[in-house]
Amino acid sequence: MIAAHATGRPSLKRRPVLSPNRLRFGAIGAGAIAVGAALLAIAPLASLAVLAFGPTDDLWQHLIRYVIPPALVQTALLLVGVAAVTIVIGVGTAWAVTTFQFPGRDTLTWMLALPLAIPTYIVAYVYVDLLGFFGPVQAALRAPFGWKSAADYWFPSVRSLPGAILLMGLVLYPYVYLAARAMFQTQAAQFAEAARVLGARPLRLALQISLPLARPAIAVGVALALLETLNDIGLSEYLGVQTLTLSIFTTWLNRNSLPGAAQIACALLVFVAALILLERYGRSGRSFTAMTQQGARFSSRIVLKGPARFVAALACFAPVVLGFLLPAGYLVAEVIERGLLVGFDPGLIRPALTTVALAAAATLLVLALAFSAIAAARYLRHAFIDACVAIAGIGYAIPGTVLALGLLTPLVLVDEGFNAIARAFGGAGVGLIFAGSVAALIIAYVIRFLAIALGFGQAGFARIAPEFDDVARMLGAGPATLARTIHWPLIRPAIWGAALLVFVDCLKELPATLLLRPLNVETLSTYIYQFATRGSFEEGALAALIIVAVGIPAVLMITRHADARFIPRRR
């Protein structure tokens, strides 16, 4: 049985798994990786901070008077809105598919994660088309009423703050859904069953048992969704929402102040710190570890009857339609209508391969770094290592272009070091090994998405009761044995989840890729971008569809593994 300690078990002060005299190379290596990951994440920030010390004259007076207040309000509203939408959709659907049995539930379980495969800026373009004046929806409304012009009737505009909130929410809710569902179906199941036996109605059960228990997971999901929101440029710019992130760009490019932009970027990190604290708060005070893994199982679901089952099915189907089927269907329609398949642009093959290769390489590196760092934190139990792990995730908070800009300097410094060494040995300069190659992109992806793997890893390790470590230690197991026999099997689902999410995010990444890519390197995102900037995004529909198509299997696997691997296989 899983015993979920939801009552706030006092956290025991524990000694490190490894006594100092037993520190092995492995542990030192893992510790070094944790420190390295933190340094990697700090590098672009440090160079940003240096930029931020540049002179800004009277810029801030102007910013505070005219720019920051509206941007702050819009950003705050956007974040609150997206949080609300993702929680309502994510938690609602997760609760429905884990609590009830209704027609289509099994299919919906995995379909609900699909919007993850669609880049947010693509959703923006699609919906502006679909819901615009010339789109099918308004055309269908005009026909029966005989309206001719937009002046004849009122229709909500997608290009607005509410539009941005809804669209962001529709593609980002799966972060919350996946996190909440994993909690609902395992941890909360035992309590839910007990409560049901005692006669609690499903809603009361949800409010009093499932939700409080799933709170940490929901907080993690919402934090991820909001960090994605903060990072977005494409969607907010297109929909005319003046966010803080956008103001970094206008300050840099239009107000001609890179130092000013760097300062706003640093200030934005405060927002991020708040989000990370939110996540921590969500997790704090409760430890949700599984004491034993035997018999962990899903709770049986309530079979819905009558109209309720269709209501549940429809409610869960709606976000899938809006967040995935409609946009993906639109892309398919554009591809067919434009004959993009028939007149297939062979120039697309290379970007597609490049994208997958870069994403795969970055994902492997992210996993290695993140899980080593977390393992180090677990084995060494040292505050410094914990701090390193916390810092390593900061890259997720920095908008892609800003990250890229900050990363250039450290990369070039390293390259100049190599050149100096090469010349010292009488050789010719070797050029820009890092800054001028795909290595720059991979490093940027690693910094950017390390936080996802760290989040998954920490959540995964947190589920493994420290008692396991103690027992293993008492029985004489060294850290290697502990890692191999206990942690590895239990952490595998988290690794899978992290791998796939990171992979999908790398596929979609645009801003850092644009600025850092070497000569002649094109990814699917940059391929779409060239059409989007010219206002004919549809011509990139096939590339967009390839991103979605490559992303789908990954998303399916996330869902699959989130299910199956939480039930340990009996040998």
Binding site: F134, S157, Y238, L432, V521
Partner: protein, 340 residues
């Protein structure tokens, strides 16, 4: 599983192959950093390679290329920066990443106002900021930019974000003409005449006019040609007609795309060939016909679609004066809350 690994490895190898192209020492190539879209400029580069045998390596981005070149320093592989907007050209010069392009040939074919006095930048093509007016609702055939901010305009205007550099350049030109105080009044008036909050791109301005949300859309010349040639967007262009507005007592606001030669250009000779080739008749004709831009070189015919707008009379103000005022324009956009 093995085949998957194999594929991943071969992909990695392919990506690694991509990185070797940055080698700056190879003969017969030129490296271009650009803000122009690959699809648009690739035909030009292909034609250049065909003419000269020099291979063109490209990286295109949305912003930050000046910063990238500057940070890359002496090891930068960049030979040529091909950019849009006069302010960005001047910014590249200010950033110290350029060197003078010394070419008698260019000086002969590019008029002085479309190049830097010291030769740090040369324009290669030109566009005008114009009005897409509703065929149905707008009777006027001529407009002044000054009218946009007039309370008596009686037409709703649609425009993209005031912070987009197409617009800051226009607003900067207004400051050059009328001074900052009047420009602020005008910008407030323009904001009051907006049919909706600024968003989307230039094509959306035409789309919104076609939809009846506004009567006048503000956009660049070439978008009109591009819309006419896109099945989905042709109705937007068809619902509007182009008016080339002018400043009172002046001409139409124009902006340019241009080139600079990177300070540490490793392939300088090839870079010079490319820059001169871009000002040649063939490249100028391609600019005109592929992207509906005005050629910089005199004597190259304007594309018929664009010529149909009527004769363009570019305002005589020096382009560099626009760059000087672009920051002031951006500040005004904030001050009047144009985008809010």
């Amino acid at each position: 599983m093995k085949s998957v690994c194999g594929r991943v490895l071969s992909c990695l190898a392919l990506a690694a192959a991509g990185m070797t192209t940055t080698s700056a020492l190879a003969q017969g190539e030129v490296n271009v950093y650009t803000y122009r879209e690959t699809k648009l400029i690739q035909p030009l580069f292909d034609a250049f390679t065909k003419d000269t045998g020099i291979r063109v390596n490209v990286v295109s981005a949305a912003n930050g290329l000046e910063q990238r070149v500057r940070t890359e320093g002496a090891n930068s592989p960049a030979d040529v920066l091909l950019t849009v907007d006069i302010s960005r050209l001047e910014e590249a010069v200010r950033a110290g990443i350029t060197q003078p392009i010394k070419s008698e040939l260019l000086d002969k074919v590019v008029a002085p106002r479309y190049r830097d006095p010291e030769g740090h930048w040369y324009a290669v093509s030109m566009r005008a900021r114009i009005v897409y007016a509703s065929k149905e609702r707008v009777k006027a055939t001529a407009l002044n930019y000054e009218d946009f901010g007039s309370a008596g305009l009686n037409h709703k205007i649609c425009i993209r974000s005031g912070q987009h550099y197409y617009n800051t350049a226009l607003f900067a030109a207004y400051i050059v003409k009328h001074g900052e105080a009047q420009a602020e009044q005008w910008l407030r008036g323009l904001k009051a005449n907006l049919g909706q909050r600024p968003s989307g791109g230039d094509r959306e301005a035409a789309r919104d006019v076609a939809a009846g949300k506004c009567d006048l859309g503000i956009g660049n010349t070439y978008y009109y040609g591009l819309m006419l040639n896109s099945a989905a967007q042709k109705p937007w262009a068809d619902a509007t007609r182009v008016i080339l507005p002018t400043f009172k007592g002046g001409g139409t606001h124009v902006n340019v795309s241009g080139v600079v030669l990177a300070r540490h250009a490793p392939n300088k000779a090839n870079a010079m060939k490319l820059i001169e080739w871009l000002a040649g008749e063939k490249a100028q004709q391609m600019h005109a016909d592929l992207n509906f831009e005005y050629p910089i070189r005199t004597g190259v015919p304007i594309n018929a679609t664009i010529a149909a707008f009527g004769a363009l009379n570019p305002d005589p103000m020096p382009l560099s004066s626009i760059a000087e005022k672009s920051k002031a324009a951006a500040n005004l956009v904030d001050k009047v809350g144009f985008d809010n």
